[in-house]
Symmetry: C2
Subunit: 199 residues, 2 copies
């Protein structure tokens, strides 16, 4: 059936969404065309505007439709603390989940020599400029808990020390509500070695 | 973080897709903006064109961007058999899965008196016109195997009989490769009562 028609094209284009295969794309296309044409139009316009207007914040490199994102431009935020994350999605997650009220810096990746990703590719130049300005007194390293993420965290901590800036790493261990039985051994070993005295 | 910005809007609009909640929408938005802006543009344009140009085929009522869909307009198709389905997605599925080479008719729904869906709402007028033209000799009822789907099938079979058209219902039973242990009792009972003699 009309594989090459507009419907076939739409289904194919929907497959560019992460986690969407041909079957779900088909379901989405039929749903939009039969039940929600208004929503489809809004989605299309929103996509076009987003692609055109959303770029990186000039201070923290997160995704924003303004020059300076609305976190960096908030006067109530504490400019002396900088949370370093790998991606704009992490900024979103941290800001929703925690009471953190400092600023962010997005690396857009992690050090990965095997993939040819060096310090220049994760915005360390801009980060060092920020350090040199002297406003930042502390950084919190919230890169992912992977080998590359850890290496990146150590690398940036070293940079910070050169500017006499305190660097801390977010805590790793057993998740809240997690049962020991179902925790992987790596996390559990980390939780033991990183144990804290009870007050 | 910028709940009201373009990014927030995009995430909200992505939620109109079936099976996409706020978390997946977030993932999709970040993926498109960071890794596939070209794909996002294509998707948007494809959505706009589809919403504008795709309508119902004047013969079978499936979704198409031409007046007569490319199934109805194929001269090699057998116009004497009509497969009656509930939705355009069913046309797509049947045409991909079977060797069926007849035409289709899409009801866009099923009889459901409780929801106020009567014979006029499922295109029976157009269907009876097709019957009256005399080209159709047989119909295959491929409505869903729900109470409403069955009722709809019986109703249309009655209409067909008035025009001396043979009506058959697709077979229901244990799916191919299905293990009896995991089949629900309704299907199993149906499979027993509908058993066929082995050649």
């Amino acid at each position: 059936m009309q594989k090459n028609g507009l419907l076939g094209q739409l289904i194919q284009n929907l497959c560019c969404l992460p986690g969407v295969g041909p079957k779900s794309a088909q379901r989405m296309a039929f749903h939009l065309l039969q039940r929600d044409r208004e929503g489809a139009k809004q989605l299309a316009n929103s996509l076009l505007r987003a692609v055109d207007e959303i770029a990186y914040c000039q201070m923290c490199r997160t995704l924003t439709d303004t020059d300076i994102c609305n976190i960096c431009s908030q006067p109530l935020r504490d400019g002396s603390i900088l949370c370093v994350v790998e991606s704009p999605a992490d900024v979103w997650v941290v800001d929703q989940a925690t009471v953190y009220k400092g600023l962010y810096f997005v690396l857009h990746g992690r050090l990965s020599p095997l993939d040819g990703v060096g310090p220049d590719d994760i915005g360390t130049e801009l980060l060092q400029q920020r350090f040199a300005q002297g406003e930042v007194k502390e950084i919190i390293l919230a890169t992912n808990s992977t080998v590359e993420g850890e290496a990146t965290a150590y690398f940036i901590a070293e940079l910070a020390k050169k500017h006499n800036i305190r660097a801390s790493r977010i805590a790793h261990g057993v998740p809240m509500g997690g049962e020991l039985e179902f925790i992987d051994s790596g996390t559990l070993a980390h939780a033991f070695s990183g144990r804290r005295e009870m007050a």
